[in-house]
């Protein structure tokens, strides 16, 4: 079932200044990379995510999905337009404030897990809290809680190399959630695991959504995208279609 259609429609939703329960508001975001030749990764993208929503971004390889996620996560800054999270324009933040945004307001889950190889599962989960300056005791209990939530309580002291791909991704999910972020960002979280494990990870996201988390998920698999409430189709750096599931 297909609803609101062109980018203009999406843009108006943001510009109208909908109820302020929008966690993320992207307005006319453009991102270009200047290299040997200038690459336009995103062009005039407008998108808002309301609190507690579950949105999937789909599109072919190179269409700008990861770029969008990185902008929302504060890992990168747009060339033009604004990205506001929790009402704050990320471009106005200082380096340290943006770091805090990454550690506190958003939680990242990557396709390649991105765990610290020399830290145990529990230490990896607790890492965002280290940078937020939380004390050791609090870090320990939080990490324990979250590992238990993803079913890895017995693997707390294992190094990433001693875990399976699915287990690693669950550790990464626990880490993304440890600081209780307003927004969960996942870039192909099932891309490096088999179908069965992928389903279990997606079930994890379903649970998180049901618990009230705002989720933005990048995938190129329709089967995965359909678990979301809304699918944003991206091609060549533009939003082509927003589909309600």
């Amino acid at each position: 079932m297909t609803e609101g259609t062109d980018e203009a429609g999406v843009a108006s939703a943001a510009v109208d200044g909908e109820p302020s329960d929008d966690v993320v508001v992207c307005s006319d975001v453009t991102k270009t990379y200047d290299g040997a030749r200038t690459v336009v990764a995103l062009e005039d993208v407008s998108l808002s995510l309301s609190s507690g929503s579950y949105t999937a971004v789909m599109g072919p390889s190179g269409s700008g999905k990861s770029t969008l996620l990185n902008l929302v996560g504060g890992l990168d800054t747009p060339t033009a337009g604004t990205v506001a999270v929790d009402g704050r324009d990320l471009a106005t933040l200082s380096e340290a404030q943006r770091a805090r945004h990454r550690g506190e307001t958003v939680g990242f889950v990557f396709q390649t897990f991105n765990l610290m190889p020399r830290l145990t599962a529990a230490e990896n989960v607790a890492l965002p809290l280290v940078f937020l300056g939380r004390d050791r005791k609090e870090r320990g209990t939080r990490a324990e809680e979250l590992l238990a939530d993803v079913g890895l309580a017995d693997r707390a002291d294992h190094l990433p190399a001693e875990l399976s791909g699915g287990q690693r991704q669950r550790v990464a999910i626990a880490r993304a959630l440890v600081a209780d972020p307003a927004l969960l960002l996942a870039d192909e979280p099932t891309g490096n695991v088999d179908t069965g494990t992928g389903d279990r990870i997606m079930a994890e996201f379903d649970t998180l959504h049901e618990a009230g988390n705002t989720v933005l998920l990048v995938t190129h698999e329709r089967r995965i995208a359909e678990r979301a409430e809304r699918i944003v189709h991206v091609r060549d750096g533009r939003v082509r279609e927003v589909e309600s599931v």
């Binding site: 990168d76 380096e95 990454r102």
Partner: protein, 412 residues
Amino acid sequence: MDASETLRLSVRSLRAHKLRATLTVLGVVIGIAAVVTFATFGASLEADVVSEIEGSSANEIYLVPAAEEEGGFPDAGQPVFTEYDLEQLRAVAGVERVVPRGIVQVTALTAGEETVARNRVTVTEASAFEAATFADGRAFRDGRQEAVLNCPAAALFAGNLSAGDRLTVTLQSGERENVTVAGVVDGTGGQLPFSAFSDRPRVFLPADPFSRTVVESPTVGVNQRVCPQVTVVADPSQTTAVQDRVEGYVTSERSDAARLRPAGYEIRARTNADLVDRIERVVERLTRFVTGIAVIALVVGAVGIANIMLVSVTERTREIGIMKAVGARNRDVMGLFLVEAVLLGALGALVGVPLGVAGGWVATRYAEIGLVLAPGWFAVAVVVGVGVGAVAGLYPAWRAARVDPIEALRYE
């Protein structure tokens, strides 16, 4: 991010590459060990010499010709002081005693059936023994065929020589002189107005008649005995003033010594305090030289640390990206790498200090002096180690902090 967590993470990444860390700090270890070795040896040497000199009196002034150039060492083989000079010196205000001293080359000493090879004996005057303690007998009398031995010299002969024993001295010319042992002097302590290195055997003969070196005094125009060294014992309350007066005399053309001295030589009047000063300066110069070498080693060490830290930043680019993605600030990343470099430097110091002390100990054993530690230098070493690490780590840490998280996460 708190300091203890920074330290913990840094220690962990160092422990992941133990061999690499060890090899990296080698430069720092060598530099610091070198400084500590020489600081320890210098302190020991100084303590040894100073304690030995302090055993003798502070009111003795040694006159000796020495090469003029800076730091030229005294040359006790240049006989320049005539009997006329000795008389003039005795007349200087504040002078209590004037004791000439010279060397006579000999080949052997014989007592009874026993002959001992010796190559020199000291010639002086009876006044030399004025303050001395005798283990046996008394001082020789000037102009007599008598001798005084110190205890180690008496012990050269089986059954120890004592007062009244006969001794035959074979001169280098082959001539033999028969003397009677007048006494055995207890040479420890400062009673003899000579440099106090007196734990070796010494045989003393009266300059009259045994000193055969004679020249015409330029002042009075008659042949006189000359000697190469003179000890002036001053009134203890005016040593410095006496030193000035005595020096004034021996360096002026009024003295025979100044006129007899070979070209390129000057006559010096030195007290023990001057000697201590001089040794301290030598030790200081040695330390400065070694510090120069150590600085080179430390620069090499710093370059090593900087190099390995840069390699480490490249290797861990992805980890830096991960840390930034989960909320690390630039200064957190910078801190991690800086602390790691500082730990390497500190490790170098911690290994270098004991190694340097061991080196100093070996050197003191070799030089047969007592070991004296120089703890001030240990603190300097640790500060330098930490400083080298910090300086070496600054640029790599800055590079690490600047890593773009997007690029880093893309990095394989």
